[in-house]
Symmetry: C2
Subunit: 246 residues, 2 copies
């Protein structure tokens, strides 16, 4: 395909891709929000996802470091604020740690990331590498999964609250903030790629970048599903291997 | 020398290094604040220094992207705020552009950086590369030239205002903000290196990092001095080569 799409056609393509490949369609997400997991499995999800959360400001600073455009840097900087907070004890990463503590996990174990699945760490690093190495337009586009995040968050929060006695509203406080932050970020990034993808090649690259990011999220749930839903597949060293859940 | 210094001894070494090698000792600085330059020469200084100013947030985001320490990231983020501002039209880079416009330079020419000296661009890139590639402690230490910046700024502002009819207080507004920002940043970075340089090797590396950064600043003034003070040495393509000062 070498046809130049209109910006709105490009947006429609991106939305179609998300509808098909965003990780809300992954079986593990269905199990998670549907209440079909036990506490160990939810813990495994939370401590693996910590690796992703902790990498986000690194990914965002990586993007900021790449651009000579002060406006883009300034707007993208808000993501650092969201995740690292305005003061100690604030921000998305702290809220995610609170979520893992609410699930009874040891903070040091979580933040060390030593018990996370290798596949989680590799997927997260692939995301940072992508944002560092690909053209800036694609780096921006790789954030577009946030277009689909309000849906999965509402589903996840209501499902988990309804289904698990060990989950409280306070534990899930992380997601409340994201419901405001993600659409703001997604609107900006979507507008950016619609304005800057001016050739068929750039439009294809933008779509591929979103596909890549869907893969990063999907692979993390694949790894969780393989290790913690299928019996006996927790890899050496990971949370729960050999019955060690500490 | 393999002796471990106390943190205060380390600070004394750093201050001694700055006293010997900070660019306030460079002849070009003496000429600049002493009123001995003509307007073309001051313009050349301003447009070359723009390259350095524009690179600072990229350097700082590069450092932020390197650390897993959310506290360090959050504190260092303030430097992005200082240079890129809280809104469009604010921040240190915009103030530097105002300085160049106050000197009668075309904004697009300045921000394109095409008429800057190659040596300026190379020195600036070396700084970014250092912060990206060296151990984090050394990356932090390379910012410590700000310990010495209030002195040079007061000297520069009072000297330039007294000496040049084409310089106004408004033109130099950039430096007012820096008088508050630089000591705050320097205090934090100095405290950081005093706490984290725990071996003689690390202490030597910290001192070397400050030395490197002094070189980066000194090399920029060397290039200006060679091109714009010595006769006939403006390199091809640079501001004023062949009599083209546009």
């Amino acid at each position: 395909m070498t046809v130049l799409m209109s910006p709105d056609e490009l947006e429609a393509e991106l939305r179609a891709l998300g509808a098909a490949r965003y990780h809300n369609r992954h079986p593990f997400h269905q199990l998670l929000h549907g209440g079909a997991l036990n506490k160990r499995q939810v813990q495994a999800w939370a401590l693996n996802r910590y690796c992703y959360q902790a990498a986000i400001p690194i990914k965002d600073a990586t993007l900021i470091a790449r651009t000579e455009d002060a406006d883009l840097r300034r707007l993208w900087r808000q993501r650092l604020v969201d995740h690292d907070g305005m003061a100690e004890g604030e921000g998305g990463i702290v809220r995610w740690i609170a979520l893992t503590e609410g699930l009874g996990l040891d903070r040091d174990m979580v933040t060390s990331r030593h018990r996370a699945l290798p596949a989680t760490r590799f997927a997260v690093q692939a995301y940072i590498d992508f944002v560092r190495d690909k053209p800036l337009l694609e780096a921006v586009a790789s954030s577009l999964t946030e277009m689909f995040s309000p849906g999965i968050i509402s589903e996840r929060v209501s499902g988990m609250l309804a289904s698990y006695s060990f989950i409280t509203k306070e534990t899930l406080a992380y997601f409340n903030a994201r419901l405001d932050q993600a659409p703001r970020d997604a609107d900006f990034a979507l507008d950016y790629v619609k304005r800057h993808a001016r050739t068929p090649e750039q439009q294809r690259a933008v779509i591929a970048a979103l596909g890549f990011k869907c893969d990063v999220l999907w692979a993390q749930l694949d790894a969780l599903h393989h290790a913690y839903v299928l019996p006996g597949m927790i890899p050496p060293g990971a949370f729960g291997h050999g019955g060690d859940w500490s």
